[in-house]
Amino acid sequence: MYQHDIGRRSTKVKNVVERGAVKKFAEAIGDPNPIYWDEETGKRSRYGRNIAPPTFPRVFDYGVIEGLKLPAKGLIHGEQRFHYERPLFVGEELYCYAEVKDYYEKQSSMGLLGFLVIANNGEDPDGNLVFTSTSTIIMNEAVRKAMSV
């Protein structure tokens, strides 16, 4: 039912890798390493600045994919993938957008399951890809029916 959404994209949104947000995120995953928040450590590092943890892109705004309707409840996060060209730098600007990569259905012991694959991408101001974060979301029959779109 989401086949016709494959390829749909949101408009790019400018995001900043905010220092305070990175620190709070690192604390929330219990990673006290000063590479994320201590300016001196960042300066002395090979990066010359602080970086963000690899799962940090969860906090960015990727805009809205026009026409894509998702159920408000009952979604299961099945798989998650991050691909990086390099780490994220604290303070840098990224242009982020979402894209429907795939949709397929599979028969399982719980009935017919739908798998929706969404990529969240981040580019630098020159348009070079920095990261892709791909989520696979699982929907069972009841959830898809409840949507009735």
């Binding site: 995953i29 690899p54 780490p87």
Partner: protein, 134 residues
């Protein structure tokens, strides 16, 4: 100091066992990530969703697991990080984070990674491809 290049295929990075999962852990993660799905913080909403109680964000566990690699950022970075969410993490679960070298190349090291609960069950399972600088 240990370097990541020293680890050989079959060897594991030092494991980390987290303190029992608390409600505050999940409230903090909700705030830091912006994921306010109430099944992670509010008992009644979790029950309404058919769960026995609130469950941790899968991304909280995935985020924790990545910290095994933080000490090695001078040598390289996490190029690819993939996980499958295998089973739910409940309040008071005790999660242990693991990474084992699977493959070594000239410029990359591939790890099997897992977060395992107190019953020995994988809650998160996947792979990290760590890219080495020259």
């Amino acid at each position: 100091m240990t370097t990541i290049r020293d680890w050989q295929v079959g060897q594991s990075l030092p494991e980390v066992t987290l303190p029992p999962v608390s409600r505050l852990d999940l409230i903090k993660y909700a705030g830091a990530s912006g994921d306010y799905n109430p099944i992670h913080t509010i008992d009644e909403e979790a029950k309404k969703a058919g769960l026995p109680g609130i469950i941790a964000h899968g991304m909280w566990t995935m985020g924790n697991l990545a910290k095994l690699f933080t000490p090695y950022y001078e040598e390289g970075f996490v190029q690819d990080y993939f996980v499958r969410f295998q089973s739910m993490v409940f309040l008071n679960d005790v999660i242990t984070l693991k990474a084992t070298v699977k493959e070594k190349g000239d410029k990359t090291i591939r790890f099997d990674v897992a977060a395992v609960n107190q019953h020995g069950k994988d809650v998160v399972k996947g792979e990290v491809l760590f890219s080495l600088y020259e």
